[in-house]
Point group: C2
């Protein structure tokens, strides 16, 4: 489904990179130094806790259960909750001390908070000298392979590469079932685009979509999410650019086609303090579940940060080029230090001064040029020497020259939709579940209303009664379903047909084929419980047409004779 | 393809278990203690080598390049190569010393061989106290979940569970491209079966297959692999049982359908010394490549070993039960120690004696019964006391009683086909590659003959010349291919059509749709270069029918008008 909806639709490249990652890659990405949570330890037992979780639980409990607290105190707790993600180790530690928070299990005192890296560490090869980590996300594998991917795409932008695979985070305290686990399936798309042109050719296909959005401003002013037209959000600049908007729209379509309830799905924009400093904009698809609103997909414009970081660390330029149809004349600033004069003036420090001069940006250089022309000399800070030096007019020539350029070389921006597959599946279970009374009315039966496209088992095959002829027909149908690639279950037990229907409703199986004659069979749809009658040799084809999405059940319902069930307890 | 051929065909259960595995699981499986290779270190630089590789390389080089060695010496080297896998650390070390083998890179002396565990180790959770490993195979995840899987299958045998995922082995010296890597994709099937009935209901579907087999006996007597009928191999007992034979046949069909050359595929039986002591029989599907015959799939009858190992370690019985339709009367041996008499005789040791008596197997108990009846007393060894005691007739009653049993409880056997996906794909590349002269005859063009079912890209779409009308048609066709789920590439560059064909032949793309009018287009088949003409709106349907395997190219060829290419250099 993911492959169909995203990879095929956009002709994305697909990669499958290793999970065990050499340290140097995750040094470059920043994970070795910064992928941490703040942890406190029970000072007696050594049990570990996430510092922010303890503070959060404390404030929530006070707010919910302690009726004696003052309005000021309540406001303070609410403020702490609001800024929780921004607190430093020292600030967190101070709050924990101030509130007298102790270890939840033992009431022992807690250590000061300190950073704990969330990556699983290991050692690559037999020497023990090459540290490695289990990847905390799949994206880095795509970034380090950018050069090859760009080449495979015929050195053309934009293009996207996708990867589905395991990611690993050594959580301090896993919790909430599938929602915070130490190993999970991640699906990430890295869409590389020219930073000067973030339009998208298929943007118009999603621009009219309307759904729940929760922009930054509404969050800051205490309003709630509201239904907004995507195209309007983009044209008003609420969503940063067309490509980001396109993927927000595609994610909306993906999740609702899976079976996520559109009323319990919202796109929430990151607040300024949530976003990495380099990100241009970021929206989370949040799905409401019994645990609250859960971040399931992140869609971020990460600018050129990742490719630049790997370029800097590896020395391999991860860039793209736009070839001009005709060479363009451009003015280029040329800074030419006069090494002889600089040598005479600065001796052993000459090299540092030369490098500092060459590193000036255009504005600095033009200012120096003006100063040298008017005053003949200028104070100049050389960082690597830690002091100012005096630059004279004869020591550097600064000029603008006209040059012909054949191409523009730049670091592409990356727009990244990142899917937490386990979280999406968990929410899908909640949104798909309902109960309905049994025919006798004496019990509530469980049903999952998974759409045919995503139901793990598409179809069941039941002989109505135990009888060799019916069983033969059931096996024939099972064979033709296998040939058609339809996952199914065959149940030839003597259990009542009503019980067998109820069992498979509980597994979310959308269709049940019941063999009640040797020439024709019935097909029952799970949610309506409607049944049609088809010839034995048509059964697999009909089920395949609906599960492949070529026909809807309504199409089928109008094309075949209906069957009204006389049988027992369904 | 794998899912279709195996999982759907047999209605297998599918699981997706974590890669990071707690130590206790791999203790039970034996990997923590025994999953090692023998390693030597360069004593000066610390560089690590696999001890057996160094000895193997030394012997091979002597045999191939040293013309001065005696016949006796040559025989010795050949013997060493033959028994290489059986040598202990001491024996390997002695040979390395005897032959004066040094570090290949530096000629420095080497350390004695010592075992190096091939699992990547890590630490689970923040405490640092819970060691874990990256799984070295996917099978253990299925074994530890046996109880749930058996329940999902309605507590019925036989059934199989399948898992595809990453496996990790910290190889001392990775080599040979995709063939020995530290992280690879493994697909494993664990088929659980009653050890007393290893028949398979679909065995007859493969029994008539004939292919290259290399039984143990032929290997021992220096013969080569020969074509054998699978059914004959099973009935003669060369292959241990029907279920094992069934999977050998299915693996043969799978590999040849992928595009593996059946003449370069053989099934080699493990020699007695290669097989784990518990295995009943084991066959490797070996594929010939430029590296020689490569083990790509292992198909083993592992008996009840794995489930027993996890039962012992966890205390959770991983067993199945066969319910009898009617209770069966069985004779059961009953050993009833008379505690009062034993207490008087053995005081504080009474408990040890009671336990030892109850632990007797049937034969021991019957011998004791006979001895007590004839002699009135008997010497009896109590292990836990480390001595013999004298048991008198009044101290224990041993009898056979009739009991009604409702079921038979047993540990299932497991038949395991295990696929190294990277190795299979590597061999597929070699077997699929060929070259043919260009039309002008001035160069050799590369082609991969991937069958449509497995080709990563199924189809390309080319406008014959750059022209807006043709490009529109090409984009229409691209859209309908996306809807049909067909991976494809569209190339609207002005490159000559011959060059574009050659490019996609090199990628193994089986079909090319060329737009040379706005009403109909041509479809070219890669290997024959034959072209047919179809209406624009039929193009996607025709390609889908062939790639889904519903029709062959021959079917298509006979149903549509042929097109003889006049265009340029193809």
């Amino acid at each position: 489904m993911q492959t169909l909806h995203f990879v095929l639709e956009e002709n994305m490249l697909e990669v499958d990179c290793p999970c065990v990652t050499p340290e140097v890659v995750l040094k470059a990405s920043g994970h070795v130094d910064k992928f941490t949570d703040l942890m406190v330890k029970d000072e007696k037992t050594g049990t570990c806790y996430r510092a922010d979780h303890l503070l959060k639980d404390f404030c929530n409990e006070k707010l919910q259960k302690d009726l004696t607290i003052s309005t000021e105190k309540a406001a303070e707790f609410r403020h702490v909750l609001a800024v929780l993600d921004d607190l430093s180790a020292e600030e967190l530690g101070a709050k924990i001390k101030e509130y007298g928070i102790t270890a939840p299990d033992t009431k022992n005192p807690l250590s000061d908070p300190y950073p704990f890296n969330l990556m699983f560490q290991t050692s690559i090869g037999p020497s023990g000298l090459l540290p490695g980590y289990m990847r905390p996300e799949t994206a880095q594998g795509i970034f380090v392979n950018f050069k090859d991917l760009y080449y495979y795409n015929g050195n053309k932008l934009p293009f996207a590469a996708a990867q589905i695979g395991q990611a690993f985070r050594n959580e301090i305290s896993p919790r909430q079932g599938l929602l915070r686990v130490r190993e999970f399936t991640l699906a990430e798309i890295e869409h590389f685009v020219d930073p000067e042109d973030k339009s998208h050719p298929k943007y118009s296909e999603v621009a009219n979509l309307e759904f729940l959005m929760f922009p930054r401003e509404e969050q800051m002013s205490g309003q709630s999410a509201k239904i907004i037209c995507l195209g309007e959000a983009v044209s008003k600049g609420i969503v940063n650019n067309e490509t980001l908007g396109y993927f927000i729209g595609r994610v909306f379509l993906f999740l609702t086609r899976l079976g996520i309830n559109r009323k319990r799905l919202r796109f929430r924009q990151h607040l300024a303090n949530e976003m990495a400093h380099y990100a241009a904009d970021c929206w989370d698809a949040e799905i409401e579940s019994s645990y609250g609103w859960i971040e399931c997909v992140g869609i971020a414009d990460r600018s050129a940060y990742d490719l630049r970081a790997h370029t800097d660390k590896s020395g391999v330029p991860l860039v793209a080029a736009e070839k001009f149809s005709e060479p363009r004349e451009v003015e280029k600033l040329v800074i030419a230090p006069v090494k002889k004069e600089l040598g005479l003036a600065f001796k052993g420090n000459q090299k540092n001064v030369v490098e500092a001069l060459e590193a000036m940006n255009e504005q600095e250089a033009l200012e120096m040029k003006a100063a040298l022309e008017s005053k003949g000399e200028v104070e100049f800070q050389v960082c690597t020497l830690g002091k100012n030096v005096c630059i004279k007019k004869n020591m550097v020539s600064i000029s603008k020259e006209k040059k012909k350029e054949h191409q523009r070389v730049f670091t592409p921006s990356v727009i990244e939709p990142s899917f937490g597959i386990g979280r999406i599946i968990y929410c899908l279970y909640e949104h798909s579940f309902y109960t309905r009374p049994s025919k006798a009315g004496d019990e509530q039966l469980n049903v999952f209303r998974f759409p045919p496209l995503v139901a793990p088992i598409k179809c069941t095959v039941f002989p109505l009664v135990q009888n060799q002829q019916y069983e033969e027909v059931a096996k024939e149908i099972s064979k033709s379903l296998t040939v058609a690639g339809i996952s199914h279950k065959i149940d030839i037990t003597g259990t009542s047909i009503g019980k067998r229907y109820a069992r498979t409703d509980e597994l979310g199986v959308p269709f049940a084929i019941t063999v009640d004659s040797t020439s024709s069979v019935t097909i029952r749809e799970r949610d309506s419980k409607d049944q049609i009658r088809v010839n034995v040799d048509e059964a697999a084809t009909v089920v395949k047409a609906v599960t492949d999405g070529l026909k809807s059940w309504e199409d089928i319902w109008t094309s075949y004779p209906h069957h009204s069930s006389e049988s027992a307890d369904d």
